[in-house]
Symmetry: C2
Subunit: 253 residues, 2 copies
DNA sequence: TAGTGGTCTAGACCACACA
DNA sequence: GTGTGGTCTAGACCACTAT
């Protein structure tokens, strides 16, 4: 019964750690998410109401509410006033997150490889000034890389970084993802603004990606900001569309 | 000074409506957002701390916190524990939201037009069963439309809807956006899961979109769910990439 | 040490949906 | 009416950052 009341076994929430560093709402949300993923909570199932759930778990209502809201934002649950909370139908899809292509590939079990096409320190051009908010003519690092997975070329990555990163060298860029290198320097990515489009591959792009000339490529331009709100990376990427696409979940708030 | 403490004029928050239906946190968030957009709060500006702000406005801290969090989720603000809250550098970009192409075009001042290529009731095929979760062989509505803006063809929209919408007719689909029609029937879209990619246009697509054969098209396949978590629409769209692209803001939570 | 955001509590009242 | 989620209050303690 899709509409039936659903009473979660208390066992799911028994071993909550109230002293550790992991927030209670996060522990709750994780257990709920797992229950949805493994169909313990099937599609359409109705959750126990917030007040009762809070009481049963010995938590305050705002805490259980925060946990539920996180799953609503992920597109796993829907709420209706006067009705209740239900599990969304439809398969769960892993989402585009604030990670690099390198990490995406690693997580999905593929082996990412990077060939550095060029790396040089240049004066910021107009586009870099606009995107990064650096001073005109200041020195920036310009990197071009070819990313492959399991030996197949996947994407051409063109990135510009502000002056503080001009000492990144070819060897480091061959061995690690760009975001890994930034994190190792204490930079935390917080916000990224992306535009996704398509166009025909140039002769050089087609050559690098092993495509025929004029073949379609998927494009993404992105500016990423760290936790102080300052731009730390501007990227113009193009992907082989038969090997890569973007997944996005939208939630009305 | 980008890092300077910023004390918002009290006037910005004077006319809060405590009796109307608009939530206080929403009123606060809107005023803050406007102040960021018109540079009253310039990039890098530091907000007054939450406790003081709440006291000054005569609100509780959770309320002001909710307002700030909404803007963090929109990518306008960044928070750091022990430091404070700052305005993100970089221009604000309007985001992909849970709206239809029709409404996107209207909002940006263009005049959307729709040509219905075909509309028919058919038994659900495998893809429809998979995407919508309907019973195999049940009747679904299959619609193909060509969407233009200011007289230029922009996208081919292929949609499948479950049985309850099989009475939608050609005339209504010519005059209104699909989401408008659904809303008029009391359907509220809550969640959409999309995949964005690229490929070469087929001969028919190239013809309809006024492109040369094999030209790149931007593609999006989407399943949308209503507020009860049930799938109400499955769409496979392709766009002229020189006229359309997707904007996405990612925020680390 | 002082100041910041992050988490959590224990209530309250309201708006909306359904029988 | 009864039950649900939506909003709001007035505190508390903690973890982290900078000086």
């Amino acid at each position: 019964m899709a509409q039936s009341e659903h009473r979660l076994p208390v066992e799911l929430f028994l071993d909550l750690d109230r002293s550790g560093p992991v927030p209670l709402y996060y522990q709750i949300a994780s257990r709920l998410e797992q229950a949805i993923l493994d169909q313990t909570l099937p599609a359409g199932a109705r959750l126990e109401n917030e007040v009762a759930l809070a009481a049963r778990l010995g938590l305050s209502r705002p805490t259980i509410r925060r946990a539920i809201q996180d799953l609503v934002d992920k597109g796993l649950l829907v709420r209706r006033r006067g009705i209740g909370t239900q599990v969304v139908h439809g398969k769960v899809t892993r989402n585009v997150e604030l990670t690099s292509l390198y990490e995406d590939l690693e997580r999905s079990g593929q082996k990412p490889e990077t060939q550095v096409l060029s790396v040089e320190v240049v004066p910021a051009d107009e586009a870099a000034v606009e995107a990064l908010g650096v001073d005109p003519g200041s020195r920036v690092l310009h990197v071009q890389r070819l990313r492959s997975a399991d030996g197949v070329p996947l994407a051409i990555l063109d990135n510009v970084l502000p002056e503080q990163f001009t000492d990144l060298d070819r060897e480091a860029l061959e061995k690690h993802g760009l975001y890994q290198l930034l994190r190792a320097r204490g930079v935390t990515m917080r916000v990224a603004k992306q535009r996704i489009g398509a166009r025909a591959a140039s002769a050089r792009e087609a050559d690098l990606l092993d495509l025929s000339r004029g073949a379609p490529v998927l494009t993404m331009v992105r500016t990423a900001f760290d936790n102080s709100g300052v731009a730390v990376e501007f990227g113009q990427h193009c992907y082989r569309p038969d090997r890569y696409s973007f997944e996005v979940t939208l939630v009305d708030r």
